[in-house]
Amino acid sequence: MVTTEAISELFDNEIEPNRLLAVVGSVEHDPSMRERWTVFTMISDAMAGVPWPDDGYSLRLFERLRGVEIDPDYNPLKV
């Protein structure tokens, strides 16, 4: 079972490679894990003095991302 402590380790890039998939997978299936990632980001940003705008920010971005696929021939620095 994935714990919120594992989310904290993933957030710090300190998760063991053999646990990575399980922890990322938990974000997909468990809203409380997604919430934890968001709150840890909020704390990190607040400590760095980065303002936290409205709560729909991520959702609007994910909506736009839905129609996008990875393109092996596309280089974002050459457009």
Binding site: S8, W37, M47, P51
Partner: protein
């Protein structure tokens, strides 16, 4: 973990088609990217549009990231490139008649990010986090500050605090959880609407 390995595990997963891994990266980086982009453009709507554009380009071109720089550096380069292209376009486009331009700027300035509620929320979050950190047990506060503000790895923190890595992991986690608990009353009303 050295700085050049930051996020690399999530990037590799995302390159393999794991969208959730990419979403984690987005949530993690989007607000710092917004702060960076706001140096180029003035209105909140322009900032949000450019941040979205940058992430769309990043996702589409994810295979071209080879790890020669950190993911954050690469992301910021793309955002800077995108913002500059936008500024060049705005300089060259035909100008609207004076009346229309005035209305357009009023609409843009009343973007979501600038609403009084959001400004207040940002301030309350910052104040709550600051107060909560002040109230942490000293060892947890030290571990969290070393991690977040100095960017040290658990191993480096362990050396500094003369304790095992596992103790650092627990202290950082407990510090975050205590701060998260103090944020709970602010965040509970909008749970489920963030992501």
């Amino acid at each position: 973990m050295p700085e050049d390995m930051q996020d690399i595990a999530l990037v590799r997963l995302a390159q393999g088609g794991d969208r959730r891994a990419f979403e984690l990266l987005v949530v993690r980086h989007q607000r710092r990217l917004a702060r960076f982009v706001s140096r180029y453009v003035r209105t909140p709507q322009e900032v949000e549009d450019l941040v979205q554009e940058a992430f769309l380009k990043v996702y589409r071109g994810l295979h071209s990231f080879r790890g020669e720089s950190t993911f954050s550096t690469w992301l910021h380069r793309i955002a800077g490139h995108t913002a500059q292209n936008y500024l060049d376009y705005m300089r060259l486009r035909p100008r609207a008649p004076a009346g229309d331009a005035e209305n357009e700027s009023v609409t843009e300035m009343s973007g979501v990010e600038n609403s009084p509620e959001n400004i207040l929320m940002s301030k309350q979050i910052a104040e709550t986090v600051s107060r909560a950190i002040d109230r942490l047990p000293a060892v947890e506060r030290e571990a969290l500050v070393l991690r977040e503000l100095e960017g040290l790895s658990y191993e480096q923190i362990a050396q500094r605090m003369q304790c095992p890595n596992t103790t650092v992991r627990t202290r950082v986690f407990r510090a975050r959880e205590r701060v998260a608990q103090e944020l709970e009353p602010l965040l509970q009303p909008t749970r489920g609407k963030r992501w």
